[in-house]
């Protein structure tokens, strides 16, 4: 492979590693913009990954798998919504509970599928992938989920900033009381945002189990749900910065994989810590500016709203 193809391969690998983070992160960004803090992203991604995988094997179609993954993530978000919006439970505790449940459920549901490789999404779409030239091969590896991940921030940015519905959603996130006084259905809007976030997290999980790996292994999301949550903070709730952060993480992950090939003699276990350490680093860099964080965060974030 020439240097040019190598560079493109690195770029493609970065995009593919970043896509799950963008999908889940953009979903959570919309949820948080509506004033809801759902810490269950990791659990929703795991359920999306395993449900999508099982549905793909069962139906033979990855498209049905993707639908199932989105539905699975949304169903998990529905549980969160029942607890926090319906029964007024603490959002932080409920999100943690959702993740704990998702870890267990996905491990149980996925036990029969453990370590059973399937053709990746790119191979399903382009069966001749293996025989294509190296350059074409790299470009074709960019499966529809990567394109969706690259497009989603633009769509969400436009929705939030240029549409009436987006304006209402932001109003609910800034001040639920005022939005309620104006006659908007705060709970219904928050429910819709939460379900959307769940569906996106489900797709993020499926992009791991159907395209990136592609197989199901227990706990395969490996903290990416939490990294996605950190990315939303890093982005100061602006969609395009989620993409930027996710690609940075994609690159760090790939660099970790490649380090030994590049002749950097560091133990694999230590290289595997890089994305987590990078998360802490960006979190520190962005959070130290308290004022900036406060000005950009949705003012009602994490605060429950109970209409009288």
């Amino acid at each position: 492979m020439g240097d040019g193809v190598m560079l493109i391969a690195l770029l493609v690998a970065t995009l593919r590693a970043g896509a799950p983070l963008i999908l889940a992160g953009i979903g959570e960004l919309v949820v948080e913009r509506a004033g809801v803090l759902n810490l269950g992203v990791e659990g929703m991604m795991l359920v999306g990954a395993v449900v999508g995988f099982a549905a793909t094997i069962g139906s033979g179609s990855p498209w049905i798998g993707l639908l199932a993954a989105a539905a699975g993530g949304a169903a998990m978000a529905g549980v969160f919504a029942v607890l926090t919006l319906g029964l007024r439970a603490n959002q932080v505790a409920s999100g943690l509970a959702l993740t704990i449940f998702g870890v267990g459920f996905s491990a149980l549901f996925g036990a029969p599928y453990q370590s059973h490789p399937i053709p990746g999404l790119a191979t399903v779409i382009f069966p001749d992938l293996a025989s294509a030239s190296p350059l074409v091969q790299q470009v074709l590896l960019l499966d529809p989920l990567v394109w969706l991940a690259l497009a989603a921030p633009f769509v969400v940015q436009r929705f939030l900033m240029r549409s009436r519905a987006g304006l209402v959603l932001r109003a609910v996130g800034e001040s639920a009381e005022v939005a309620h006084a104006f006659g908007y259905k705060v709970i219904r809007i928050r429910l819709a945002a939460t379900l959307f976030g769940g569906a996106m997290a489900g797709l993020g999980g499926a992009s791991l189990s159907l395209a990136y790996t592609p197989m199901w292994t227990e706990n395969m999301v490996a903290g990416r749900g939490w990294i996605a949550l950190a990315l939303v903070v890093f982005s100061t709730w602006k969609p395009h910065f989620v993409t930027l952060g996710a690609l940075l993480f994609g690159f760090v992950t790939i660099a970790g994989f490649q380090a030994n090939a590049w002749g950097i003699p560091v133990a694999p276990n230590l290289l595997a810590t890089l994305p987590y350490l990078a998360t802490i680093l960006v979190l520190v860099l962005i959070s130290r500016d308290r004022l900036r964080l406060k000005l950009n965060a949705p003012a009602s974030l994490g605060k429950p709203f109970h209409p009288a």
Binding site: L83, R88, A89, L98, I100, G104, A111, Y276, L277, S287
Partner: protein, 354 residues
């Protein structure tokens, strides 16, 4: 159906909600077993009753409840100050590494001082790991939920590296494991024939100590004020910074003690995996026990029972071990749902007045 706010939180419901949640989770578990084609009654018996039938079972129960209780008490103190230490798993791991490294380094020679040093290193390992989160939170405003969690993933990888690298057993046929600890660096058993060590006594001692700390000391009072009314706490001059430091160091130290007690106890060496998720399950214990030490003692025993019963289900009913995780998750979800009854009354029909 609608919710009507109670004039004051219901003490009765505060006690009843966990009981309701346990019953609902048992019902959910029965449903799960039925869906998986097993006899629900037999499975429930295996899960909740069979492990308690003999002395071995009771001793294993105490063994598993010990780390859960130690981690949960630390987490619960933090939650009262609105400090969320979700990374007890990582502090547990660093405690095991700290104590394990000292034990291995001291080697065969030694005396009475070896074990205290090992335990101290374990506590300091957990504290040190939590201190990173405390520093980043107080100095840079980085949220401790994400930092403690990320550090958990890092700690597990560090352990994985150590048992394949610097601390690997040279005579271990290249298995990822350390040498066995010397008897001098191992916790004494509570009684012959079981696997429970004196660490169970540390956990038991932490119950009255935790109750005393929260209920009868100034620092405990400050913690609760910082959690309930941050504005009032600031006005009264109670520093949030010191509350964050105190809570994270305390919970990190307790989790570290739990970690070192596992490796210098039933496990006896460092392995890549030393915890079946005790640090995360302890979050459930903390909530199920209502953040009160005595409640958490009961909750830790129940969670330990779920671990034991889960293992028994795997052996006798061929159910995946992951079923335990699902039941644990359901338990916490149901508890958070049932908690609505503490602050609200459910009214059926009629309209809200006013």
């Amino acid at each position: 159906m609608r919710l009507e706010r109670r004039a004051a939180a219901s003490g009765l419901m505060g006690v009843l909600a966990p009981v309701l949640a346990v019953l609902a989770a048992a019902l959910g578990a029965a449903l799960l077993f039925a869906v998986m084609g097993k006899d629900p009654v037999a499975c429930l018996h295996t899960l909740f009753v069979a492990p308690l039938a003999d002395a071995t079972g009771l001793s294993e129960l105490a063994l598993k409840a010990t780390p859960l209780l130690l981690c949960a008490i630390g987490i619960a103190v933090g939650v009262q100050a609105n400090v969320w230490n979700i990374g007890a798993e990582g502090q547990f791991t660093m405690g095991a590494i700290g104590g394990g490294a000292v034990g291995l380094w001291l080697g065969p020679e030694g005396g009475w001082f070896v074990l205290p040093l090992v335990l101290l290193a374990g506590v300091l390992g957990g504290m040190g790991w939590a201190a990173i989160a405390a520093w980043l939170r107080t100095r840079f405003n980085a949220h401790e939920i994400l930092v403690t969690l990320m550090l958990s993933y890092v700690a597990v990888q560090i352990l994985g590296w150590l048992v394949r690298g610097p601390l690997q057993d040279p005579e271990g046929f290249n298995f990822p494991q350390s040498r066995q600890f010397e008897p001098a660096a191992t916790l004494p058993l509570l009684f012959e024939g079981g696997r429970v060590t004196i660490a169970a006594l540390f956990a038991l001692a932490a119950v009255p100590a935790g109750a005393l700390l929260l209920g009868r000391t100034l620092i405990g009072y400050r913690i609760r004020v910082v959690g309930l009314a941050p504005g009032a706490a600031r006005y009264a001059g109670f520093s949030e910074t010191s509350a964050v430091w105190f809570c994270l160091l305390l919970s990190g130290g307790l989790a570290g003690l739990a970690g070192v007690s596992e490796v210098a106890g039933p496990i006896g060496q460092l392995l890549p995996t030393i915890s079946p998720g005790y640090g995360f399950a302890a979050i459930i214990v903390a909530f199920l026990g209502r953040l009160r030490p005595v409640g958490m003692l009961l909750a830790a025993l129940l969670m330990a029972l779920l671990y034991l019963g889960g293992e028994a289900l795997q052996i006798t009913q061929q159910l995946p071990l992951a079923a335990t995780g699902v039941i644990q998750g359901m338990l916490l979800l149901f508890l958070l749902g049932a908690d609505v009854l503490v602050l609200y009354r459910i009214r059926i029909g009629g309209r809200a007045h006013g």
